[in-house]
Amino acid sequence: MAARIAAGSGDELTVAYRRLNAAYQQTLRYAEDVRRLYQQVQRAIHQSLLGLANALEAKDAYTKGHSERVGAWSRGVAAALGLPAADVDMIGQAGLLHDIGKIGIPEAVLRKPGPLVDEEWTVMRNHPLIGAQIVAPFDFFAAGALMIRHHHERWDGSGYPDGLAGDEIPIGARIIAVADVYDALTSSRPYRAAMPHATVIARLGEASGRTLDENAVVAFVELIQSLSTARPDVGARPVHPAALRPPLR
């Protein structure tokens, strides 16, 4: 009797083990698919944003190098400020796309070979709003859309489109603004040569705490001086044909 019970228990344990193992193997299969699908989604997100950046490049070749530099530097500053990894990614992506709204700016304004008049500036200043609208369908990029909308706000509230000041401005937009100003001033324009790196760093120092976020400026300067992509040689750079227009102000 005891032996039969023991044998029966053994069979039951074997069956239970097989069932448990089958469930375990099935769980592993789902987990593998989750990981693979997550990676595919991340790649698709990255590729869709790159596609948007390519669209802007097709319209305004000048912005390609500019967008990529601002994106990379913004990501670096966000990381240096200790922001969470997801925020760092988002800020890098928003930096890449911060000028995407220029797609909606008429070419006569975008490529004008000279300074813009007031009416043209009014049109040009729509690009942060247009940019935010372009990326609005991306639910995952809602924070990035706000960074794009506010990348021309100023710390003292004198920027556009909403005149936000200080901490009202999303941190990503404050970071992008610093990288944007640095890259604009170190780039050549038809009516002025590119400013030397040291001069631009001094300008950033003057703007720090006034039009630019001090923390973002400090982190940016530390980053740019540590990178080989800092541009002490900008004076020697040729003017890109598509850069025949003034910087945004």
């Binding site: 069932r19 089958a22 469930a23 193997q25 099935q26 592993l28 299969r29 789902y30 593998e32 698919d33 699908l37």
Partner: protein, 128 residues
């Protein structure tokens, strides 16, 4: 509404299929043995039936064959759930009238694509 019947005596398999497929456009019903599966099939006339090969009373092959003898199920798609190592089960299921087979452990992506191939007018998971 797409109605799917799954006949399997393992609750975790039924739960995974339901979790993966069921939404506002797909209803997942279950049966824990062959006789219940036949009764449920008669009552629900599902669009798609998943049949585990190793049901506790009658085999999934038998259930499949009996369903195929009934003209009411002429358009019903039948998918056999087989163990990965049992290739002979695949051939046996197809000869019993199954349209497809799904080996365990199964991939949720394969499960979804299989349902979409059977019912292309009902996309699995909300798009857009």
């Amino acid at each position: 509404m797409l109605t799917i019947l799954i006949a399997d005596d393992e609750p975790h398999v039924v739960d995974l299929v339901r979790l993966t497929l069921e939404d506002g456009r797909i209803s997942v019903k279950d049966a824990c043995d062959g006789e219940t599966a036949l009764a449920q099939a008669e009552a629900l006339l599902p669009d798609l039936i998943f049949l585990d090969v190793h049901l506790p009373d009658i085999s999934g092959f038998e259930v499949c064959a009996r369903l195929r003898q009934n003209p009411r199920f002429g358009r019903t798609k039948i998918v056999m759930l087989t163990a990965a190592a049992q290739e002979s089960d695949v051939a046996r299921g197809l000869s019993a009238g199954a349209n497809h087979y799904l080996t365990k452990p199964f991939s949720p992506v394969r499960l979804i694509s299989l349902v979409e191939s059977v019912a292309p007018h009902v996309p699995v998971w909300q798009r857009g």
